[in-house]
Amino acid sequence: MKAYEKVIEKLLLICAVTATLSVILITIFIFKEGISVLSDYGMINFIFGTKWSPTNGNYGILPLIAGSLSVTIGALVIGIPTGIACAVFLSEVAHKKTAKILKSAVELLAGIPSVVYGFFGLSVLVPAIRQFILPIIQLFNEDASTSGFSILAGAIILAIMILPTIVSISENAISSVPIEYKEASLALGANRQETITRILVPAAKSGIISSIILGMGRAIGETMAVILITGNMPKVPGGMLDSVATLTGTIAMEMGYATPEHQKALFAVGIVLFIIIMLLNLFANFTLHRLGGQAND
């Protein structure tokens, strides 16, 4: 009887390490495929090369990094204030019923597949930018032109996509601030708004920051929405209305027809993406755990 229980425990352990083994396997295989390009082409040339043109053997991913960063930063600029406002609304301002509506809305936003966001952006946002935003820009700069496939379109869609991440983690962080903080602040004569902006949000800082970092990771890693609306032009962008290609989009677009050498380069792009995401996640984890420490003090 005892032996049989031991065997089961070992079996369960094997299941439990599957996820970790998967991570190791993924790391090994992505690096194995991509590392040769990194070493042959040169790390510096690869990362800081300004020309991505695989058909001519030019594998400089600076334009792709710039593309990913620009849409991500745009998404954060739109998504952070909106997300924190929604989190505050849910945890401090709204009545129970209204909060429930917003909460299910945010959950549904999280459930919509990314390709649907991309399709929405493609059929609504891209033409809207061409028709409405461009004329406004042209008032100030007559040379401005855009196809609508732009950083702006990507940033808006990504902002919507990272909203659920920011809202749910920030709301959790704000709600878990000890009630004494709030009581003390109110007792000292601060009103509700002051209590929120000067006590609750600062006290929930590390949770909010880690929600933002996780949102950033999601934005950088997002593929299908971005691929449909940013135009996929591997050039370092000059403005919000320029087309860009992102790290993820380039991999997904070119994998289907790539030559073996080109494929290896795409795996090398994958390595860069993988490292960026890992660092962001580690950082988010670190800040979140610090929050846990604070709450226990």
Binding site: T18, T20, I26, C86, V88, L108, F119, F120, L228, M278
Partner: protein
């Protein structure tokens, strides 16, 4: 400006700073309400726009006929089947592993460095973006193991992606089982494993189910990873080794190549309806689970 100074100014009935004080307060609430309203509006706009344009084109013929001329005409029957196969493979592989892993974490694992490491590994897996899964699935399942672009390659890749969701949901469910259940069962002479199989798992079945449903939702919506591992062939898949095209891949191809507006909207509507349905079922199950836990 400190609170104190502000208060003193108010006390001194300085009209200007009083106005400023109230304005600040109002602006704050206006901002918060506005952002919440925009968020809800955005959701309504996205779902509304796609459903209004697409739902009229969903009919029996669309659901049951094969796509013709690259999806420009006909229906999406083979694509529905492909989606179904891929999801079934993904769940069939990941469900047992995920549930058993969660059992290990919740019932067996002690707080050691080693357990912390494999917990951390699970978290890391959840954070990996889908395109990286796609690359991995392509080089590992498609090329290295020689499964080619197939339902098997796609399903296995998807199963890795939904594993963390399943583990997390099941572990949360296991945590809600009262300690007294375990003690009761063990004191009656049952072994630990008997307790888990006969007492603990049955009492948190709906929590586990929620995890499974959420996993299905993720598998149905996934595009990038599936495209690189299951291919995008339009034919009706006949075996696990056949390539398949899922609904989200189909939507991507229709949208990016601008093949048929009508079919694109219809496919998008179907996908949205499916995902919303899956999420609603999941939250209903959660609600029932919470009510039961309270009672």
């Amino acid at each position: 400006m400190t609170n104190y100074e502000e208060t003193m100014e108010l006390v001194s009935l300085n009209d200007n700073s009083r106005k400023k004080y109230y304005w600040k307060n109002h602006l704050f609430y206006i901002f918060i309400y506005l952002m919440a309203a925009i968020t809800i509006l955005v959701l309504v706009a996205i779902i509304g726009y796609i459903l209004i344009n697409g739902i009229g084109h969903i009919n029996w013929e669309f659901l049951t006929s094969e796509p013709r001329s690259m999806g420009r005409e006909g229906g999406i029957f083979s694509i529905i089947i492909g989606t179904l196969y891929l999801t079934v493979v993904a769940i069939a592989v990941s469900a047992p592993i995920g549930v058993l892993a969660a059992v290990y974490f919740a019932e067996y694992a002690k707080e050691s460095k080693w357990v912390k490491t494999i917990r951390f590994g699970t978290e890391v897996l959840a954070g990996i973006p889908s395109i990286i899964f796609g690359l991995f699935g392509f080089t590992f399942f498609v090329i290295f193991l020689g499964f080619r672009w197939s339902i098997l390659s796609g399903g296995l890749t998807l199963s890795m992606m939904i594993l963390p969701t399943l583990i997390r949901a099941t572990e949360e469910a296991l945590k809600t089982v009262p300690q007294s259940y375990r003690e009761g069962s063990l004191s009656l002479g049952a072994t630990k494993w008997q307790t888990i199989i006969k007492v603990i798992l049955p009492s948190c079945l709906s929590g586990i189910l929620t995890g499974l449903i959420l996993g299905i939702g993720r598998a149905v919506g996934e595009t990038a990873a599936v495209m690189l591992t299951a291919g995008s062939a339009l034919g009706l898949p006949e075996s696990l080794m056949d390539p398949a095209r899922t609904m989200s891949v189909h939507l991507y191809i229709l949208a990016s190549e601008g093949l048929s507006k009508e079919k694109t909207f219809a496919t998008a509507s179907l996908l949205i309806i499916l995902v919303l349905l899956i999420n609603t079922i999941a939250s209903k199950v959660v609600q029932r689970f919470i009510n039961k836990a309270k009672a």
